[in-house]
């Protein structure tokens, strides 16, 4: 698993909070450039990498979508030297007290290349509303302390500055990695591994590798990239809930036993079947994930763009989703990348008529 860790560390070395994905997009662009024929950026910042197929034009196209944004925090005020903040994407306030963060300040004295270290802090009880007691402190009562004197803070930090988690990725037992933004950097890596694998294999369809923006804030990148590219099919790779403490129900999946293949009204049934049969044939471990309404992924957007796009979603199980200590199995990332590469090989020019719902 040598390749994954350095790539993951590279992708986590820059922040990519929803709406502010440029630092990560820049890194990813350099990683994908040698792997695709053309690389471009959408009007709202999503990355599009085109690897052309070899069949005659007009060629059908497959959009492989992974969102490159992650949850984080944003400065909403400065109060007596302490930073007030709110969340970007869904952050459970319970994981915040004591969390180490980076503040990407834009004040006059700030250096864009050097974010400031900060600490999310919870004031002591007498400084909080009495009715909170010993319950969870809501975000609006927490602060970030950056250790500077009150008069100094405004020189570095302004309202609207982005705050990202500082937890360094850690390699753990059983070939797992823990860190922040595994949702969805794990999927970005799986897609990258897929691109690496198809370098030496020919394929008939055009492949659009897309790293979408703002999935965590309304699937903005997915809607707009799908509209621009109008692919014949869309396969979205995201993370899903793994089994673990406090998360053990029927809709959770074991870490290390392969990705999930989602099923439900959000998913094109025949596209799902094709990928499932392929996984079975190749003996790639996987689970079927039942989603009653939405998959909660970019596929929720791609499915209803323009005249509709047959969509599929694949999930990489991670524990503790939307905390700074998400845990993923490196094998699951590798399996997902391989499944995508093999799926690309099965795309013949008559694939669309084979999966059609019409009679």
């Amino acid at each position: 698993m040598v390749e994954i860790i350095p790539l993951l560390k590279q992708l986590l070395s820059a922040s990519g909070v929803a709406g502010y994905e440029t630092p990560v997009a820049d890194i990813l662009q350099n990683v994908w450039k040698p792997l695709v024929d053309e690389i471009s950026v959408s009007k709202v910042g999503s990355l599009h990498g085109l690897k052309r197929g070899n069949s005659s034009e007009p060629r059908p196209s497959l959009m492989l979508a992974t969102h490159m944004d992650a949850i984080g925090l944003i400065v909403k005020g400065i109060h007596k030297g302490f930073v007030r903040f709110t969340d970007v994407g869904g952050v459970d306030p319970r994981v915040l007290p004591g969390q180490q963060v980076w503040l990407h300040g834009s004040g006059p004295a700030a250096d864009p290349g050097n974010p400031l270290p900060g600490l999310v802090v919870k004031p002591s009880a007498p400084l909080l509303p009495e009715e909170l007691g010993d319950q969870v402190i809501p975000i609006e009562n927490l602060f970030i302390d950056i250790g500077l004197a009150p008069g100094q803070v405004a020189k570095f930090i302004q309202v609207g500055d982005i705050v990202s988690f500082a937890q360094e990725p850690m390699e753990m037992n059983g070939e797992t990695v823990a860190g922040h933004s595994i949702d969805n950097r794990a999927a970005v890596i799986a897609l990258t591994m897929c691109l690496q694998e198809i370098q030496t294999r020919s394929h008939s369809w055009d492949i659009w590798a897309t790293a979408t923006v703002k999935e965590e804030q309304g699937y903005i990148g997915a809607y707009t990239s799908a509209f621009q590219l109008r692919p014949s099919l869309a396969v979205v790779i995201d993370t899903t809930w793994a089994k673990g403490p406090g998360s053990d129900d029927w809709n959770t999946f074991p870490v290390g036993k392969g990705p999930t293949l989602m099923w439900g009204p959000n998913i094109h049934p025949n596209l799902h079947k094709s990928i499932k049969e392929l996984a079975e044939k190749l003996e790639i471990p996987h689970a079927i994930e039942i989603t009653g309404q939405s998959t909660g992924t970019d596929a929720f957007a791609t499915q209803i763009v323009a005249e509709g796009i047959p969509s599929m979603a694949i999930g990489i199980p991670i524990r503790y989703m939307h905390t700074p200590v998400e845990v993923v199995s490196l094998k699951d990332i590798q399996r997902t990348g391989r499944l995508l590469a093999e799926f690309i090989q099965t795309l013949t020019t008559d694939f669309m008529s084979k999966i059609s719902l019409g009679s």
Binding site: Q303, E307, G358
Partner: protein, 355 residues
């Protein structure tokens, strides 16, 4: 004055087939097949799109004619098998909004083979009084198809098991929302007018956000849109005999024209057109109470630069439960109102300002 409303045997058989067809949101294939079989002699071509919408155009012949989309949704609320607990017992999710209190003690049909199953409840003898005060949450309910081997897998759909029947002036069955609307649209296709292009959309996934209608409208890009759905008639007596001010619609008072629901503010020109046509043709009608809820118009009207839209619904009691009740007269009058309204649409209709 008593007015008897006739449904031919053919019409009743079609309603029965539609009501009993199994098709939850995302899995409407069976309903689509029933519809196709019925309309095939009347259409030259049809399209099934990426989500499963059935799209059919009946071209008119008048000059400068407008393109008018009429939509009715094929999907019903139901269940999806989520996990196998063994011994023929399955966990399930609901698909579409279903009050969990409607579930215990019901029979269902599961999967493409329509296997019979039940949603049971703990025997009363084993319950306490305080327990019986609380609803049984979805996580505790199960579908039981009986022990032994079965072909059911997670992902299979299940629907209420209810036999459709006509009882006096009423129709009783499951999925009247919106198989009645589907039947109306079938009638419009069979008797399509010459003054417009009729773009008929049998849509999918209305119950989970009108997703099918959104892409159907984008494909069609119509000038106008009508949606035929079913809307609640909460017209039962109040427990304290107070005036019922939240009835939404009344059974038997005719097709319900929407002014505003939670998803759409109907185009006033279309509301006026419907009302004027009803008055001219002596068709009874009512206004659905403004408030919440939504129809396919919610996604249609915002598409492709904006599409003036209105919904007309057949009132139905007890929607989203095992059995709903509607009036034959309301169904027949809805068909009549829409037929007459479509025929009265002139090319200059949109020249008037939206007000």
């Amino acid at each position: 004055m008593v007015k008897t409303f006739y449904l031919t045997k053919k019409q009743t058989t079609l309603l029965e087939k539609l009501s009993q067809a199994m098709g939850i949101s995302g899995n409407e294939g069976e309903v689509r097949s029933v519809i196709l079989e019925e309309i095939r002699p009347y259409i030259s071509d049809h399209q099934v799109d990426a989500l499963g919408n059935l799209l059919v155009t009946r071209q008119g012949s008048a000059n400068n004619r407008l393109k008018v989309m009429v939509a009715a949704h094929m999907d019903e609320v139901g269940f999806m098998i989520a996990a196998d607990d063994g011994e023929g017992i399955f966990r399930f999710e609901s698909v579409g909004g279903i009050d969990v209190r409607q579930l215990p003690g019901k029979s269902v049909l599961v999967g493409k083979d329509h296997l019979p199953g039940v949603i049971g409840a703990r025997p009363i003898h084993l319950t306490t009084a305080s327990e019986r005060q609380n609803k049984i949450p979805l996580e505790k309910l199960r579908i039981d198809v009986g022990p032994g081997k079965n072909p059911i897998k997670p992902g299979d759909q299940a629907v209420f098991n209810t036999n459709f029947r006509r009882v006096g002036p009423s129709l009783i069955g499951k999925a009247l929302d919106d198989r009645l609307g589907v039947a109306v649209l079938i009638e419009l296709i069979k008797d399509a007018p010459e003054n417009i292009d009729l773009q008929a959309a049998f849509t999918v996934q209305e119950e989970i956000g009108s997703r099918g209608a959104r892409v159907a409208a984008f494909s069609f890009k119509p000038d106008l849109a009508f949606v035929v759905d079913s809307t609640p008639a909460n017209d039962l007596p109040s427990w304290d005999d107070a005036e019922n001010v939240t009835y939404n619609t009344h059974l038997g008072e005719g097709p319900a024209i929407y002014v505003a629901d939670g998803a759409t503010l109907s185009d006033p020109r279309l509301i006026r057109l419907l009302k004027q046509t009803a008055e001219k043709e002596s068709i009874p009608f009512q206004l659905r109470q403004p408030g919440g809820g939504g129809t396919d118009a919610g996604t249609i009207h915002k598409q492709a630069g904006g599409i003036p839209s209105v919904s007309v619904s057949i009132p139905g009691r007890y929607s989203h439960t095992a059995a709903g009740v509607a009036r034959v007269s309301d169904y027949v009058n809805t068909v009549a109102l829409l037929k007459a309204t479509l025929r009265s649409i002139q090319p200059e209709f949109l020249a008037q300002e939206r007000k």
